[in-house]
Protein backbone atom coordinates (compact mmCIF):
# COMPACT_ATOMS: atom_id res chain seq x y z
CA UNK A 1 0.00 0.00 0.00
CA UNK A 2 2.83 2.30 0.99
CA UNK A 3 4.63 1.41 -2.20
CA UNK A 4 1.57 2.19 -4.32
CA UNK A 5 1.12 5.52 -2.59
CA UNK A 6 4.73 6.40 -3.17
CA UNK A 7 4.33 5.56 -6.86
CA UNK A 8 1.30 7.79 -7.08
CA UNK A 9 3.08 10.70 -5.49
CA UNK A 10 6.51 10.52 -7.07
CA UNK A 11 6.69 12.26 -10.41
CA UNK A 12 10.27 11.15 -10.86
CA UNK A 13 11.71 8.03 -9.36
CA UNK A 14 15.28 7.10 -9.95
CA UNK A 15 15.93 3.54 -8.76
CA UNK A 16 19.46 2.25 -8.20
CA UNK A 17 20.54 3.91 -11.37
CA UNK A 18 24.11 3.95 -12.57
CA UNK A 19 25.94 5.26 -15.58
CA UNK A 20 29.02 3.27 -16.29
CA UNK A 21 31.73 4.12 -18.80
CA UNK A 22 34.32 1.58 -19.80
CA UNK A 23 37.58 2.98 -21.04
CA UNK A 24 39.91 0.10 -21.78
CA UNK A 25 40.11 -1.95 -18.59
CA UNK A 26 38.91 0.94 -16.45
CA UNK A 27 35.32 1.04 -15.30
CA UNK A 28 34.12 4.51 -14.37
CA UNK A 29 30.86 4.90 -12.48
CA UNK A 30 29.85 8.48 -13.31
CA UNK A 31 26.60 7.87 -11.46
CA UNK A 32 26.72 5.09 -8.95
CA UNK A 33 23.52 3.34 -7.84
CA UNK A 34 21.57 6.52 -7.22
CA UNK A 35 17.99 6.51 -5.98
CA UNK A 36 15.86 9.61 -5.86
CA UNK A 37 12.20 10.55 -5.58
CA UNK A 38 10.91 13.93 -6.69
CA UNK A 39 7.28 14.88 -6.29
CA UNK A 40 5.26 17.15 -8.53
CA UNK A 41 5.94 20.83 -7.80
CA UNK A 42 9.16 20.28 -5.86
CA UNK A 43 12.11 22.63 -6.31
CA UNK A 44 15.24 20.53 -6.02
CA UNK A 45 18.88 21.50 -6.16
CA UNK A 46 21.76 19.11 -6.60
CA UNK A 47 25.08 20.51 -5.56
CA UNK A 48 28.42 18.99 -6.28
CA UNK A 49 31.90 19.58 -7.62
CA UNK A 50 32.76 19.37 -11.25
CA UNK A 51 32.88 15.71 -12.27
CA UNK A 52 30.71 14.56 -9.38
CA UNK A 53 28.11 13.14 -11.79
CA UNK A 54 25.35 15.74 -11.36
CA UNK A 55 25.04 16.62 -15.10
CA UNK A 56 25.03 12.92 -15.94
CA UNK A 57 22.20 12.28 -13.46
CA UNK A 58 20.22 15.25 -14.78
CA UNK A 59 20.69 14.05 -18.37
CA UNK A 60 19.42 10.60 -17.49
CA UNK A 61 16.31 12.14 -15.89
CA UNK A 62 15.90 14.34 -18.99
CA UNK A 63 15.92 11.34 -21.32
CA UNK A 64 19.04 12.31 -23.23
CA UNK A 65 21.43 9.76 -21.72
CA UNK A 66 20.60 6.11 -21.25
CA UNK A 67 21.41 4.61 -17.88
CA UNK A 68 23.57 1.53 -17.59
CA UNK A 69 21.76 0.07 -14.61
CA UNK A 70 18.54 0.63 -12.69
CA UNK A 71 15.43 2.53 -13.72
CA UNK A 72 14.40 6.10 -14.34
CA UNK A 73 10.63 6.34 -13.89
CA UNK A 74 8.45 9.22 -14.91
CA UNK A 75 4.97 8.96 -13.46
CA UNK A 76 5.70 5.28 -13.00
CA UNK A 77 6.97 4.58 -16.51
CA UNK A 78 10.59 3.65 -17.11
CA UNK A 79 11.52 6.18 -19.81
CA UNK A 80 14.34 4.01 -21.15
CA UNK A 81 11.93 1.24 -21.93
CA UNK A 82 10.08 3.58 -24.27
CA UNK A 83 10.54 3.42 -28.01
CA UNK A 84 12.81 6.08 -29.53
CA UNK A 85 9.83 8.13 -30.75
CA UNK A 86 8.12 7.88 -27.37
CA UNK A 87 11.28 9.02 -25.64
CA UNK A 88 11.43 12.01 -28.02
CA UNK A 89 7.82 12.77 -27.14
CA UNK A 90 8.71 12.63 -23.42
CA UNK A 91 11.53 15.12 -24.00
CA UNK A 92 9.29 17.35 -26.09
CA UNK A 93 6.17 17.41 -23.95
CA UNK A 94 7.17 16.66 -20.40
CA UNK A 95 10.63 18.15 -20.01
CA UNK A 96 12.10 21.62 -20.44
CA UNK A 97 15.88 21.59 -20.44
CA UNK A 98 18.13 24.52 -19.60
CA UNK A 99 21.66 23.80 -20.69
CA UNK A 100 24.86 24.73 -18.99
CA UNK A 101 26.01 26.73 -21.99
CA UNK A 102 24.48 29.12 -24.50
CA UNK A 103 22.18 26.75 -26.31
CA UNK A 104 20.30 29.04 -28.64
CA UNK A 105 20.45 28.38 -32.36
CA UNK A 106 22.47 31.24 -33.81
CA UNK A 107 20.45 31.49 -37.05
CA UNK A 108 17.16 32.00 -35.23
CA UNK A 109 15.88 35.09 -33.47
CA UNK A 110 14.92 34.99 -29.80
CA UNK A 111 11.30 34.40 -30.71
CA UNK A 112 12.15 31.73 -33.28
CA UNK A 113 14.32 29.97 -30.71
CA UNK A 114 11.35 29.87 -28.39
CA UNK A 115 9.18 28.42 -31.12
CA UNK A 116 11.64 25.63 -31.95
CA UNK A 117 10.39 23.15 -29.29
CA UNK A 118 6.82 23.64 -30.50
CA UNK A 119 7.80 22.21 -33.90
CA UNK A 120 8.97 19.03 -32.23
CA UNK A 121 6.03 18.74 -29.82
CA UNK A 122 3.64 19.19 -32.75
CA UNK A 123 1.56 21.63 -30.71
CA UNK A 124 0.47 23.20 -33.95
CA UNK A 125 -2.94 24.31 -32.72
CA UNK A 126 -1.56 26.59 -30.03
CA UNK A 127 -0.85 30.19 -30.93
CA UNK A 128 2.90 29.75 -30.47
CA UNK A 129 3.92 33.18 -31.71
CA UNK A 130 1.88 35.08 -29.13
CA UNK A 131 2.91 32.74 -26.36
CA UNK A 132 6.58 33.16 -27.25
CA UNK A 133 6.19 36.94 -27.04
CA UNK A 134 4.47 36.64 -23.66
CA UNK A 135 7.26 34.43 -22.32
CA UNK A 136 9.92 36.79 -23.60
CA UNK A 137 8.07 39.58 -21.87
CA UNK A 138 7.97 37.51 -18.70
CA UNK A 139 11.78 37.14 -18.74
CA UNK A 140 12.14 40.86 -19.41
CA UNK A 141 13.13 40.61 -23.06
CA UNK A 142 10.09 41.97 -24.84
CA UNK A 143 12.27 44.38 -26.80
CA UNK A 144 14.56 41.56 -27.93
CA UNK A 145 12.00 39.46 -29.75
CA UNK A 146 13.72 39.81 -33.11
CA UNK A 147 17.27 39.86 -31.78
CA UNK A 148 19.67 37.11 -32.74
CA UNK A 149 21.69 35.36 -30.00
CA UNK A 150 24.80 37.22 -31.09
CA UNK A 151 22.98 40.47 -30.25
CA UNK A 152 22.17 39.32 -26.70
CA UNK A 153 24.33 39.26 -23.59
CA UNK A 154 25.09 35.97 -21.82
CA UNK A 155 22.41 36.66 -19.21
CA UNK A 156 19.83 37.55 -21.84
CA UNK A 157 20.61 34.36 -23.78
CA UNK A 158 20.14 32.35 -20.61
CA UNK A 159 16.79 34.01 -20.00
CA UNK A 160 15.71 33.20 -23.54
CA UNK A 161 16.75 29.60 -22.90
CA UNK A 162 14.66 29.52 -19.72
CA UNK A 163 11.66 30.94 -21.59
CA UNK A 164 12.23 28.33 -24.30
CA UNK A 165 12.26 25.52 -21.71
CA UNK A 166 8.73 26.55 -20.74
CA UNK A 167 7.26 26.81 -24.23
CA UNK A 168 5.69 23.36 -24.29
CA UNK A 169 4.27 23.78 -20.76
CA UNK A 170 6.50 21.06 -19.34
CA UNK A 171 5.78 19.38 -16.05
CA UNK A 172 9.49 19.24 -15.30
CA UNK A 173 12.28 21.76 -15.88
CA UNK A 174 15.85 20.57 -15.63
CA UNK A 175 18.53 23.21 -15.23
CA UNK A 176 22.15 22.33 -15.69
CA UNK A 177 24.02 25.19 -14.01
CA UNK A 178 21.28 27.54 -15.24
CA UNK A 179 23.14 30.57 -13.93
CA UNK A 180 26.67 29.49 -14.72
CA UNK A 181 29.03 32.28 -15.85
CA UNK A 182 26.48 34.96 -15.03
CA UNK A 183 26.92 37.92 -12.73
CA UNK A 184 25.33 37.86 -9.32
CA UNK A 185 22.45 40.16 -10.20
CA UNK A 186 21.45 38.14 -13.27
CA UNK A 187 21.87 34.98 -11.25
CA UNK A 188 19.34 36.21 -8.72
CA UNK A 189 16.93 37.30 -11.46
CA UNK A 190 17.06 33.87 -13.05
CA UNK A 191 16.59 32.00 -9.79
CA UNK A 192 13.69 34.28 -8.97
CA UNK A 193 12.19 33.53 -12.37
CA UNK A 194 12.55 29.77 -11.86
CA UNK A 195 11.02 30.15 -8.39
CA UNK A 196 8.00 31.93 -9.86
CA UNK A 197 7.53 29.27 -12.52
CA UNK A 198 7.70 26.62 -9.82
CA UNK A 199 5.20 28.32 -7.56
CA UNK A 200 2.75 29.64 -10.13
CA UNK A 201 2.59 26.64 -12.44
CA UNK A 202 3.50 23.80 -10.06
CA UNK A 203 6.28 22.89 -12.40
CA UNK A 204 8.87 20.60 -10.86
CA UNK A 205 12.34 22.06 -11.07
CA UNK A 206 15.58 20.20 -10.60
CA UNK A 207 18.76 22.14 -11.10
CA UNK A 208 22.36 21.31 -10.56
CA UNK A 209 24.95 23.81 -9.39
CA UNK A 210 28.29 23.98 -7.68
CA UNK A 211 27.19 27.14 -5.85
CA UNK A 212 26.00 26.28 -2.33
CA UNK A 213 24.29 29.64 -1.86
CA UNK A 214 22.23 29.05 -4.98
CA UNK A 215 21.48 25.48 -3.96
CA UNK A 216 20.07 26.88 -0.72
CA UNK A 217 17.25 28.60 -2.58
CA UNK A 218 15.66 25.21 -3.35
CA UNK A 219 13.15 23.53 -1.08
CA UNK A 220 15.00 20.23 -1.32
CA UNK A 221 18.77 20.09 -1.47
CA UNK A 222 20.85 17.14 -2.49
CA UNK A 223 24.58 16.68 -2.82
CA UNK A 224 26.50 14.56 -5.24
CA UNK A 225 30.03 13.35 -4.88
CA UNK A 226 31.86 10.58 -6.71
CA UNK A 227 28.64 9.58 -8.43
CA UNK A 228 26.71 9.06 -5.18
CA UNK A 229 23.77 11.15 -4.06
CA UNK A 230 23.23 12.31 -0.48
CA UNK A 231 20.55 14.40 1.16
CA UNK A 232 21.82 17.50 2.86
Amino acid sequence: MQLLRRHRLAQIEVRDTSKIYRIGDNVIRAVDRVSLNVNRGEFVSIIGHSGSGKTTLLSMIGGILRNSEGEVLYNGTDIYRLREDELSKYRAKKVGYIFQFASLLPVLTAKENLLLPTIFSKNGSKPGGKKAEEYLDMVGLKDKIHAYPSQLSGGQQRRVAIARSMMNDPELILGDEPTGDLDEETELQIMDLLGRVNRQNSVTIIFVTHNSELAGTASKQLKMSNGRLHEI
Binding site: I64, L65, S88, R91, V95, L116, I119, F120, R164
Partner: protein, 395 residues
Amino acid sequence: MKYGLLHVAVKNLKRKAFRTAVLVVSIGLLVSILVFGASFLLSVSSTLEKAVNRLGADVLVVPTGARDYAEEVLLETKTKAFYMDRGIIDRVKNVEGVQDITYQTYMTTVFGLCCDIPPATVVSFNHDTDFIVNAWLDKSIGRKLKKNEAIIGFEAYDNLGLYDVSSSLLFGVKFDLVGVLDKTGTGLDNAIFMSDENIDEVISRGKAGLKPDTISVIFVKVKNGYDPLQVSRNIEGAIIEVDTIERNDMGKKIITSLTDIKNIFLITIILAFLLSAFLAWTVFSAIVNERSREVGIMKAMGARNSDIVIMFTLEILILGFLGSVLGILFGTYLSLSLSNFFSLLKDMAASLSITERVGIGLLGIVAGSGICMIGAFSSIIRLKNLEPFAVIKEA
Protein backbone atom coordinates in the same frame (compact mmCIF):
# COMPACT_ATOMS: atom_id res chain seq x y z
CA MET B 1 6.93 31.79 -44.25
CA LYS B 2 5.11 29.59 -41.70
CA TYR B 3 7.39 28.68 -38.86
CA GLY B 4 8.53 25.11 -39.17
CA LEU B 5 11.42 22.92 -40.26
CA LEU B 6 11.44 24.54 -43.70
CA HIS B 7 11.92 27.94 -42.09
CA VAL B 8 14.83 26.61 -40.02
CA ALA B 9 16.34 24.94 -43.10
CA VAL B 10 16.21 28.16 -45.11
CA LYS B 11 17.81 30.10 -42.27
CA ASN B 12 20.57 27.54 -41.96
CA LEU B 13 21.34 27.86 -45.67
CA LYS B 14 21.44 31.63 -45.37
CA ARG B 15 23.87 31.35 -42.47
CA LYS B 16 26.67 30.25 -44.82
CA ALA B 17 25.61 32.13 -47.91
CA PHE B 18 28.93 31.78 -49.73
CA ARG B 19 29.15 28.05 -49.15
CA THR B 20 25.53 27.65 -50.21
CA ALA B 21 26.24 29.67 -53.36
CA VAL B 22 29.29 27.54 -54.23
CA LEU B 23 27.27 24.36 -53.88
CA VAL B 24 24.36 25.78 -55.88
CA VAL B 25 26.69 26.91 -58.68
CA SER B 26 28.44 23.55 -58.69
CA ILE B 27 25.15 21.70 -59.03
CA GLY B 28 24.07 24.30 -61.57
CA LEU B 29 27.11 23.55 -63.73
CA LEU B 30 26.45 19.83 -63.60
CA VAL B 31 22.82 20.30 -64.52
CA SER B 32 23.69 22.76 -67.29
CA ILE B 33 26.02 20.20 -68.87
CA LEU B 34 23.27 17.62 -68.58
CA VAL B 35 20.64 19.95 -70.06
CA PHE B 36 22.94 21.03 -72.87
CA GLY B 37 23.92 17.45 -73.67
CA ALA B 38 20.35 16.17 -73.57
CA SER B 39 19.09 19.12 -75.64
CA PHE B 40 21.85 18.61 -78.17
CA LEU B 41 21.31 14.90 -78.62
CA LEU B 42 17.53 15.07 -78.59
CA SER B 43 17.53 18.00 -80.95
CA VAL B 44 19.79 16.25 -83.45
CA SER B 45 17.61 13.15 -83.41
CA SER B 46 14.47 15.25 -83.70
CA THR B 47 15.87 17.39 -86.52
CA LEU B 48 16.95 14.32 -88.44
CA GLU B 49 13.60 12.64 -87.99
CA LYS B 50 11.74 15.70 -89.15
CA ALA B 51 14.04 16.14 -92.15
CA VAL B 52 13.57 12.52 -93.20
CA ASN B 53 9.80 12.91 -92.83
CA ARG B 54 9.84 16.05 -94.97
CA LEU B 55 11.57 14.24 -97.79
CA GLY B 56 8.65 11.83 -97.81
CA ALA B 57 10.50 8.98 -99.53
CA ASP B 58 10.76 5.42 -98.28
CA VAL B 59 13.95 4.61 -100.14
CA LEU B 60 16.67 6.73 -101.72
CA VAL B 61 18.63 5.40 -104.68
CA VAL B 62 22.08 6.90 -105.21
CA PRO B 63 25.15 6.01 -107.25
CA THR B 64 27.28 3.26 -105.72
CA GLY B 65 29.47 4.73 -102.98
CA ALA B 66 27.48 7.99 -102.76
CA ARG B 67 25.38 7.20 -99.69
CA ASP B 68 27.32 9.59 -97.46
CA TYR B 69 27.29 12.35 -100.08
CA ALA B 70 23.51 12.07 -100.43
CA GLU B 71 22.99 12.29 -96.67
CA GLU B 72 25.33 15.28 -96.51
CA VAL B 73 23.29 17.13 -99.11
CA LEU B 74 19.86 16.09 -97.88
CA LEU B 75 20.35 16.25 -94.12
CA GLU B 76 23.32 18.55 -93.61
CA THR B 77 24.33 21.67 -95.49
CA LYS B 78 27.17 20.38 -97.60
CA THR B 79 27.46 20.86 -101.35
CA LYS B 80 28.23 17.64 -103.17
CA ALA B 81 27.81 16.50 -106.74
CA PHE B 82 27.38 12.80 -107.62
CA TYR B 83 25.78 11.31 -110.67
CA MET B 84 24.36 8.16 -112.19
CA ASP B 85 22.81 7.27 -115.50
CA ARG B 86 19.28 8.55 -116.07
CA GLY B 87 18.28 5.17 -117.47
CA ILE B 88 18.37 3.78 -113.94
CA ILE B 89 15.02 5.53 -113.32
CA ASP B 90 13.15 3.05 -115.51
CA ARG B 91 15.00 0.10 -114.03
CA VAL B 92 14.03 1.18 -110.51
CA LYS B 93 10.41 1.60 -111.61
CA ASN B 94 10.34 -2.04 -112.59
CA VAL B 95 11.51 -3.35 -109.24
CA GLU B 96 8.81 -5.11 -107.25
CA GLY B 97 7.20 -2.98 -104.54
CA VAL B 98 8.05 0.40 -106.09
CA GLN B 99 5.00 2.65 -106.40
CA ASP B 100 6.18 6.20 -107.20
CA ILE B 101 9.54 7.62 -108.01
CA THR B 102 10.98 11.02 -108.61
CA TYR B 103 14.54 12.18 -109.10
CA GLN B 104 16.79 15.16 -108.52
CA THR B 105 20.07 16.32 -109.98
CA TYR B 106 22.53 18.25 -107.83
CA MET B 107 24.97 20.80 -109.23
CA THR B 108 27.45 22.94 -107.36
CA THR B 109 27.92 26.62 -108.11
CA VAL B 110 31.38 28.19 -108.30
CA PHE B 111 31.39 31.93 -107.84
CA GLY B 112 32.89 33.77 -110.81
CA LEU B 113 33.35 30.69 -112.97
CA CYS B 114 29.79 29.69 -113.73
CA CYS B 115 27.63 31.66 -111.42
CA ASP B 116 27.26 34.94 -109.62
CA ILE B 117 26.52 33.47 -106.20
CA PRO B 118 28.77 31.82 -103.60
CA PRO B 119 29.11 28.00 -103.58
CA ALA B 120 25.74 26.35 -103.17
CA THR B 121 23.81 23.29 -104.29
CA VAL B 122 21.42 23.78 -107.17
CA VAL B 123 18.68 21.18 -107.29
CA SER B 124 17.02 20.31 -110.56
CA PHE B 125 13.75 18.41 -110.08
CA ASN B 126 10.97 17.07 -112.25
CA HIS B 127 7.64 18.82 -111.75
CA ASP B 128 5.61 15.96 -113.16
CA THR B 129 6.89 13.18 -110.92
CA ASP B 130 7.96 15.21 -107.89
CA PHE B 131 6.35 14.51 -104.52
CA ILE B 132 8.79 16.60 -102.48
CA VAL B 133 9.47 20.12 -103.82
CA ASN B 134 6.03 20.69 -105.38
CA ALA B 135 4.42 20.70 -101.97
CA TRP B 136 6.96 23.24 -100.74
CA LEU B 137 6.31 25.41 -103.82
CA ASP B 138 2.57 25.31 -103.20
CA LYS B 139 3.09 26.76 -99.78
CA SER B 140 5.46 29.54 -100.81
CA ILE B 141 4.46 30.74 -104.30
CA GLY B 142 1.42 28.60 -105.03
CA ARG B 143 2.49 27.56 -108.50
CA LYS B 144 5.07 25.57 -110.41
CA LEU B 145 8.38 27.00 -111.56
CA LYS B 146 8.57 28.08 -115.16
CA LYS B 147 11.57 27.76 -117.41
CA ASN B 148 14.41 30.09 -116.34
CA GLU B 149 12.87 30.53 -112.94
CA ALA B 150 14.51 29.44 -109.69
CA ILE B 151 13.47 29.57 -106.06
CA ILE B 152 15.74 29.94 -103.06
CA GLY B 153 15.81 27.64 -100.05
CA PHE B 154 15.03 29.23 -96.67
CA GLU B 155 18.58 29.15 -95.32
CA ALA B 156 20.22 29.91 -98.67
CA TYR B 157 18.49 33.26 -98.76
CA ASP B 158 20.51 34.37 -95.74
CA ASN B 159 23.61 32.27 -96.24
CA LEU B 160 24.12 33.36 -99.84
CA GLY B 161 23.10 36.94 -99.14
CA LEU B 162 20.40 36.99 -101.81
CA TYR B 163 18.57 39.95 -100.36
CA ASP B 164 16.77 42.05 -102.99
CA VAL B 165 18.29 39.94 -105.77
CA SER B 166 15.73 39.31 -108.49
CA SER B 167 17.83 37.29 -110.91
CA SER B 168 21.02 35.29 -110.89
CA LEU B 169 23.42 33.67 -113.32
CA LEU B 170 23.55 29.94 -112.73
CA PHE B 171 25.88 27.84 -114.89
CA GLY B 172 25.80 30.49 -117.61
CA VAL B 173 22.00 30.72 -117.70
CA LYS B 174 20.09 33.70 -116.37
CA PHE B 175 17.38 32.72 -113.84
CA ASP B 176 14.68 34.86 -112.29
CA LEU B 177 14.61 34.27 -108.55
CA VAL B 178 10.91 34.09 -107.85
CA GLY B 179 10.86 33.69 -104.10
CA VAL B 180 12.06 31.92 -100.98
CA LEU B 181 10.77 28.56 -99.79
CA ASP B 182 9.51 28.06 -96.28
CA LYS B 183 11.75 26.31 -93.81
CA THR B 184 11.79 22.54 -94.34
CA GLY B 185 14.38 21.48 -91.77
CA THR B 186 16.28 19.51 -94.40
CA GLY B 187 19.71 20.16 -95.86
CA LEU B 188 17.92 21.36 -98.98
CA ASP B 189 17.08 24.59 -97.15
CA ASN B 190 20.53 25.66 -98.32
CA ALA B 191 19.86 24.92 -101.98
CA ILE B 192 18.42 26.74 -104.98
CA PHE B 193 15.75 24.92 -106.96
CA MET B 194 14.91 24.86 -110.66
CA SER B 195 12.85 22.58 -112.80
CA ASP B 196 14.60 20.06 -115.06
CA GLU B 197 13.25 21.83 -118.15
CA ASN B 198 16.43 23.91 -117.79
CA ILE B 199 18.86 21.00 -117.67
CA ASP B 200 19.50 20.80 -121.41
CA GLU B 201 20.33 24.49 -121.63
CA VAL B 202 22.56 24.27 -118.51
CA ILE B 203 24.43 21.31 -119.98
CA SER B 204 24.81 23.04 -123.33
CA ARG B 205 26.64 25.97 -121.64
CA GLY B 206 29.14 23.44 -120.30
CA LYS B 207 29.60 25.16 -116.95
CA ALA B 208 27.86 22.74 -114.59
CA GLY B 209 30.24 19.81 -115.02
CA LEU B 210 27.15 17.79 -115.77
CA LYS B 211 26.96 15.17 -118.50
CA PRO B 212 23.73 14.67 -120.43
CA ASP B 213 21.27 12.10 -119.12
CA THR B 214 22.61 11.98 -115.61
CA ILE B 215 20.83 12.40 -112.31
CA SER B 216 21.95 12.38 -108.66
CA VAL B 217 19.27 10.67 -106.64
CA ILE B 218 16.01 8.78 -107.09
CA PHE B 219 13.36 9.02 -104.38
CA VAL B 220 11.13 5.98 -104.08
CA LYS B 221 7.74 5.48 -102.45
CA VAL B 222 6.90 1.84 -101.89
CA LYS B 223 3.53 0.24 -102.43
CA ASN B 224 1.27 -0.36 -99.44
CA GLY B 225 2.05 -3.64 -97.74
CA TYR B 226 5.66 -3.69 -98.90
CA ASP B 227 8.54 -3.41 -96.47
CA PRO B 228 10.78 -0.47 -97.50
CA LEU B 229 13.82 -2.43 -96.36
CA GLN B 230 12.92 -5.33 -98.60
CA VAL B 231 12.24 -3.03 -101.55
CA SER B 232 15.56 -1.34 -100.88
CA ARG B 233 17.28 -4.75 -101.03
CA ASN B 234 15.36 -5.61 -104.18
CA ILE B 235 16.65 -2.45 -105.88
CA GLU B 236 20.26 -3.09 -104.86
CA GLY B 237 19.91 -6.69 -105.98
CA ALA B 238 18.54 -5.71 -109.37
CA ILE B 239 20.81 -2.76 -110.16
CA ILE B 240 24.51 -3.13 -109.47
CA GLU B 241 25.33 0.54 -110.18
CA VAL B 242 23.34 1.88 -107.22
CA ASP B 243 23.26 1.95 -103.46
CA THR B 244 20.09 2.51 -101.49
CA ILE B 245 19.25 4.19 -98.24
CA GLU B 246 16.16 2.94 -96.48
CA ARG B 247 14.09 5.55 -94.64
CA ASN B 248 15.06 4.34 -91.15
CA ASP B 249 18.75 4.33 -92.08
CA MET B 250 18.78 7.94 -93.19
CA GLY B 251 20.92 10.06 -90.88
CA LYS B 252 22.62 7.02 -89.39
CA LYS B 253 26.00 8.31 -90.45
CA ILE B 254 25.35 11.52 -88.56
CA ILE B 255 24.07 9.64 -85.54
CA THR B 256 27.13 7.40 -85.61
CA SER B 257 29.43 10.40 -85.71
CA LEU B 258 27.41 11.86 -82.85
CA THR B 259 28.14 8.81 -80.72
CA ASP B 260 31.61 10.18 -79.98
CA ILE B 261 30.13 13.51 -78.96
CA LYS B 262 27.58 11.66 -76.85
CA ASN B 263 30.36 9.72 -75.10
CA ILE B 264 32.26 12.92 -74.41
CA PHE B 265 29.11 14.40 -72.91
CA LEU B 266 28.62 11.27 -70.86
CA ILE B 267 32.16 11.28 -69.48
CA THR B 268 31.92 15.01 -68.72
CA ILE B 269 28.60 14.50 -66.95
CA ILE B 270 29.95 11.57 -64.93
CA LEU B 271 33.00 13.60 -63.87
CA ALA B 272 30.86 16.62 -63.01
CA PHE B 273 28.48 14.30 -61.13
CA LEU B 274 31.34 12.81 -59.08
CA LEU B 275 32.82 16.22 -58.38
CA SER B 276 29.47 17.64 -57.29
CA ALA B 277 28.78 14.59 -55.11
CA PHE B 278 32.22 14.97 -53.56
CA LEU B 279 31.60 18.67 -52.94
CA ALA B 280 28.20 17.94 -51.39
CA TRP B 281 29.80 15.26 -49.23
CA THR B 282 32.55 17.65 -48.11
CA VAL B 283 30.10 20.44 -47.34
CA PHE B 284 27.72 18.23 -45.42
CA SER B 285 30.56 16.56 -43.52
CA ALA B 286 31.59 20.04 -42.40
CA ILE B 287 27.97 20.74 -41.49
CA VAL B 288 27.88 17.63 -39.29
CA ASN B 289 30.88 18.93 -37.35
CA GLU B 290 29.50 22.45 -37.13
CA ARG B 291 25.99 21.61 -36.17
CA SER B 292 26.18 18.39 -34.18
CA ARG B 293 25.71 20.34 -30.95
CA GLU B 294 22.65 22.06 -32.38
CA VAL B 295 21.26 18.69 -33.39
CA GLY B 296 21.94 17.43 -29.86
CA ILE B 297 20.07 20.41 -28.40
CA MET B 298 17.18 19.87 -30.79
CA LYS B 299 16.99 16.21 -29.80
CA ALA B 300 17.06 17.18 -26.14
CA MET B 301 14.11 19.46 -26.90
CA GLY B 302 12.24 16.53 -28.34
CA ALA B 303 13.22 16.42 -32.01
CA ARG B 304 12.64 12.99 -33.44
CA ASN B 305 15.20 11.37 -35.71
CA SER B 306 12.73 11.95 -38.52
CA ASP B 307 12.65 15.69 -37.71
CA ILE B 308 16.42 15.86 -38.08
CA VAL B 309 16.32 13.90 -41.34
CA ILE B 310 13.50 16.10 -42.70
CA MET B 311 15.27 19.34 -41.78
CA PHE B 312 18.52 18.36 -43.51
CA THR B 313 16.69 16.81 -46.45
CA LEU B 314 14.87 20.10 -46.92
CA GLU B 315 18.19 21.93 -46.96
CA ILE B 316 19.47 19.49 -49.54
CA LEU B 317 16.37 19.72 -51.69
CA ILE B 318 16.46 23.52 -51.61
CA LEU B 319 20.11 23.44 -52.66
CA GLY B 320 19.40 20.87 -55.34
CA PHE B 321 16.37 22.75 -56.62
CA LEU B 322 18.15 26.10 -56.80
CA GLY B 323 21.14 24.48 -58.49
CA SER B 324 18.86 22.67 -60.90
CA VAL B 325 16.93 25.80 -61.86
CA LEU B 326 20.20 27.65 -62.38
CA GLY B 327 21.54 24.74 -64.42
CA ILE B 328 18.39 24.47 -66.54
CA LEU B 329 18.48 28.18 -67.34
CA PHE B 330 22.20 28.19 -68.07
CA GLY B 331 22.09 24.92 -69.99
CA THR B 332 19.22 26.17 -72.15
CA TYR B 333 21.02 29.44 -72.77
CA LEU B 334 24.16 27.49 -73.67
CA SER B 335 22.20 25.24 -76.03
CA LEU B 336 20.60 28.14 -77.84
CA SER B 337 23.82 30.15 -78.01
CA LEU B 338 26.03 27.32 -79.19
CA SER B 339 23.45 25.97 -81.59
CA ASN B 340 24.65 28.54 -84.14
CA PHE B 341 27.90 26.63 -84.37
CA PHE B 342 26.17 23.39 -85.33
CA SER B 343 24.26 23.42 -88.58
CA LEU B 344 22.01 20.60 -87.40
CA LEU B 345 21.10 22.54 -84.30
CA LYS B 346 20.08 25.79 -85.91
CA ASP B 347 16.51 24.93 -85.14
CA MET B 348 17.13 23.63 -81.67
CA ALA B 349 14.64 26.06 -80.17
CA ALA B 350 11.92 24.78 -82.47
CA SER B 351 12.98 21.18 -82.76
CA LEU B 352 12.40 20.30 -79.10
CA SER B 353 8.80 19.73 -78.13
CA ILE B 354 7.28 21.01 -74.90
CA THR B 355 7.29 17.45 -73.56
CA GLU B 356 10.98 17.08 -74.38
CA ARG B 357 11.79 20.40 -72.75
CA VAL B 358 9.81 19.49 -69.63
CA GLY B 359 11.51 16.09 -69.63
CA ILE B 360 14.95 17.68 -69.81
CA GLY B 361 13.98 20.12 -67.04
CA LEU B 362 12.77 17.29 -64.81
CA LEU B 363 15.91 15.31 -65.56
CA GLY B 364 17.90 18.36 -64.46
CA ILE B 365 15.97 18.72 -61.21
CA VAL B 366 16.20 15.01 -60.41
CA ALA B 367 19.94 14.99 -61.17
CA GLY B 368 20.62 18.19 -59.23
CA SER B 369 18.66 17.14 -56.16
CA GLY B 370 19.82 13.53 -56.46
CA ILE B 371 23.48 14.50 -56.45
CA CYS B 372 22.98 16.48 -53.24
CA MET B 373 21.14 13.60 -51.61
CA ILE B 374 23.86 11.12 -52.57
CA GLY B 375 26.62 13.46 -51.38
CA ALA B 376 24.88 14.24 -48.11
CA PHE B 377 23.44 10.81 -47.34
CA SER B 378 26.17 9.61 -44.97
CA SER B 379 26.19 12.97 -43.17
CA ILE B 380 22.45 12.87 -42.59
CA ILE B 381 22.68 9.35 -41.20
CA ARG B 382 25.46 10.47 -38.86
CA LEU B 383 23.38 13.43 -37.67
CA LYS B 384 20.33 11.26 -37.21
CA ASN B 385 22.23 8.81 -35.04
CA LEU B 386 23.93 11.40 -32.83
CA GLU B 387 23.51 10.77 -29.13
CA PRO B 388 22.33 14.11 -27.72
CA PHE B 389 24.27 13.92 -24.48
CA ALA B 390 27.52 12.97 -26.18
CA VAL B 391 27.48 15.89 -28.62
CA ILE B 392 26.23 18.39 -26.07
CA LYS B 393 28.97 17.35 -23.63
CA GLU B 394 31.64 17.47 -26.35
CA ALA B 395 30.64 21.04 -27.08
